[in-house]
């Protein structure tokens, strides 16, 4: 498959606007703003079948249509570049090596949505990306691709990089909006949805970096060409960030629907040292772990739920037989406890409680009924929280306890780790 998103990224790639233009960049934007109506673009994106790449997989064209039907102005366009999910680093190559692809995608989107103000909500842990993006925005302004009269078409769009300050929950779109408004990043109740009432009560489209990076190619090459990549229900390419015990970790652009087996063994060179595979987290730490039996599951929004997990952000974390699953989930729960925004009780108290029990089990200080308590707490959090953070924390633990129950029981019975004992 030809690379669409990671095309020509790299040291001499497309960081500077001249290189990006020399390689065909901004052609999609010129076509969109010059020859197409906003309605044409929305229809094209709808026909392409593009689904949001942030994790939820909602159809992008439909989201845009909802916003475009709302008569309120101004409309805001926000790029979600928070990327805080542990295991996820797929947007980083775009942000650091191909910033104009994102900016071009945002200009086309803003034109389609008739939005004049855009923000890139960038995670605070990417200081280099901030410098790159701010330089790229200056370059685009100097060329007349951003500003008050883009391509002399009376189209106005200005873009600001808003630097996040280290809060995982701000990847959730309503929490992100709260944060952009200068408050603690705590989720809002939906409805109203941001497409109708988002930033400062106005229609707001929040799209992930990868989603927006697909837009220029779709506009340039047409929805039909895009829909022919990947699988019918989830077309297009997908960025997978692979980490853990594989020989070649990294970011891979592959067609949606590729199997885990192909990702791990064909593209990432298999498991380090040829060791046996123990488990895979397919979409970041908040997606349930899969056992090696699910290796042939297609990686997309439709098939993974049938195997009890989710595509999430496409962050594949691979564990071999030297990794202790109890320790992995003790650390994961420390993350959820730390990142719970504190708004609702089941999440705030429940993640701390689950972490405390997991720490006891991991340190060999547990009692016999700890596993039962853990199960009970997790089941009482799942489905009872305001946003998906608490829900995710409980569900990933329940999945791990189901698949690797013997490992949890060994820890409790023997007060030590099964992996280290082996």
């Amino acid at each position: 498959m030809e690379n669409i998103i990671l095309k020509k990224t790299g040291s001499s790639g497309t960081i500077a606007i001249e290189s990006y233009i020399a390689q065909g960049g901004y052609k999609g934007m010129e076509r969109a703003v010059g020859d197409m109506t906003p309605r044409d673009i929305i229809d094209e994106i709808k026909s392409s079948g593009l689904r949001g790449r942030g994790g939820a997989g909602f159809p992008t064209g439909m989201k845009w249509q909802f916003a475009s039907l709302d008569p309120k102005f101004p409309r805001y366009l926000v790029c979600n570049a928070d990327e805080g999910e542990p295991g996820t680093f797929k947007d980083r190559p775009i942000l650091e090596h191909n910033p104009h692809l994102l900016i071009e995608g945002m200009i086309i989107s803003a034109y389609a949505l008739q939005s004049s103000i855009g923000y890139i909500y960038l995670r605070g842990e990417y200081p280099h990306a901030k410098r790159v993006l701010e330089t790229a925005i200056e370059e685009a302004l100097a060329r007349g691709y951003l500003g008050n009269d883009i391509l002399s078409k009376h189209f106005r769009f200005n873009l600001t990089v808003h630097f996040g300050a280290g809060a995982y929950i701000c990847g959730e779109e309503t929490a992100l909006i709260e944060s952009l408004e200068g408050r603690r990043g705590q989720p809002r109740l939906k409805p109203p949805f941001p497409v109708n009432s988002g930033l400062w009560g106005k229609p707001t489209i929040v799209n992930n970096v990868e989603t927006l990076a697909n837009i220029p190619w779709i506009v340039s090459n047409g929805a039909k060409a895009y829909a022919s990549i990947g699988v019918k229900e989830c077309p297009g390419p997908k960025l997978f960030s692979v980490s853990g015990k594989v020989n070649k970790p990294g970011v891979y652009e592959l067609p949606m629907g590729i199997t885990l087996r192909e990702i791990i063994y064909d593209h990432c060179g298999g498991i380090k040292g040829g060791r046996p595979l123990k488990g895979v987290i397919p979409g970041g730490i908040s997606t349930p772990i899969l056992s090696p039996e699910s290796l042939d599951c297609p990686m997309d929004f439709v098939h993974l739920p049938k195997h009890g997990s989710m595509l999430g952000s496409g962050a594949v974390m691979v564990f071999d037989d030297t990794v202790c699953i109890v320790k992995v989930y003790e650390r994961a729960m420390r993350f959820f406890e730390h990142e719970s925004c504190g708004k609702c009780t089941p999440c705030r108290e429940g993640t701390a409680w689950m972490r405390a029990i997991l720490s006891r089990i991991e340190q060999g200080k547990c009692s016999e009924n700890d596993l039962e308590t853990l199960q009970d707490v997790a089941e009482n959090i799942a489905g009872k929280t305001f946003c998906p953070l608490g829900d995710g924390a409980a569900n990933v633990l329940l999945a791990a306890m189901k698949i690797y129950r013997d490992e949890f029981e060994y820890h409790i019975k023997n007060k030590r780790c099964k992996v280290n004992a082996a």
């Binding site: 542990p86 995670r123 808003h162 280290g166 990043g185």
Partner: protein, 173 residues
């Protein structure tokens, strides 16, 4: 390299508040307010500006941000405490933000934390006695494919080992 000890309670490392620094902050906030439709929208970048100028979000900085934006000092403190990357107490000259989340953990990040404690007397949340380094444990910095990783001030470093850590820290005086 010599062993360092943790900062003593009675040692004052508070950066000096000067009229020049306050003026710098004011100018920056006025610029930032032009990028958002509400004054409060400029709050997060204003707090970053304060941190950059004073080394941390000092009470004086909070007062100044409050005066200009009209957001109450209590609200500003609430926001500053919520986000992990705002420093609400004085820090060392260089801040080591080391990730210990799952991908980094399975590649040995916890050994690096222990090593920083043994060799530099640097514990999570602490500062070396000479005020050179502070250590912050991070919840994923988006470098899982090249774990273990850290951000030192505003530079990212990957594939860390104890030796590499020593070499890197040597270059931050």
């Amino acid at each position: 390299m010599t062993r360092h000890h943790a900062l003593k309670d009675n040692e004052d490392t508070t950066p000096q508040v000067t009229e020049e620094k306050l003026r710098l902050l004011r100018n920056k906030i006025h610029y930032l307010m032009g990028l958002y439709p509400s004054y409060q929208g400029a709050l997060l970048p204003s707090l970053y500006a304060a941190q950059e100028i004073f080394g941390y979000i000092s009470p004086e900085a909070i007062g100044e941000v409050s005066n200009i934006t009209g957001v109450s000092a209590a609200q500003i403190k609430g926001v500053a405490c919520f986000y992990a990357m705002y420093k609400t107490k004085p820090m060392g000259r260089h801040i080591i933000q080391l990730c210990t989340n799952v991908a980094c953990m399975i590649e040995g990040a916890e050994d690096l934390v222990a090593y920083l404690g043994e060799k530099y007397g640097l514990t999570p949340g602490g500062t070396t006695q000479d005020g050179r380094f502070s250590l912050v444990i991070m919840e994923c910095i988006g470098a899982c494919g090249t774990a273990p990783s850290m951000i030192l001030d505003s530079d990212s470093y990957d594939n860390l080992t104890k030796d590499r850590l020593d070499t890197l820290l040597e270059s931050y005086k």
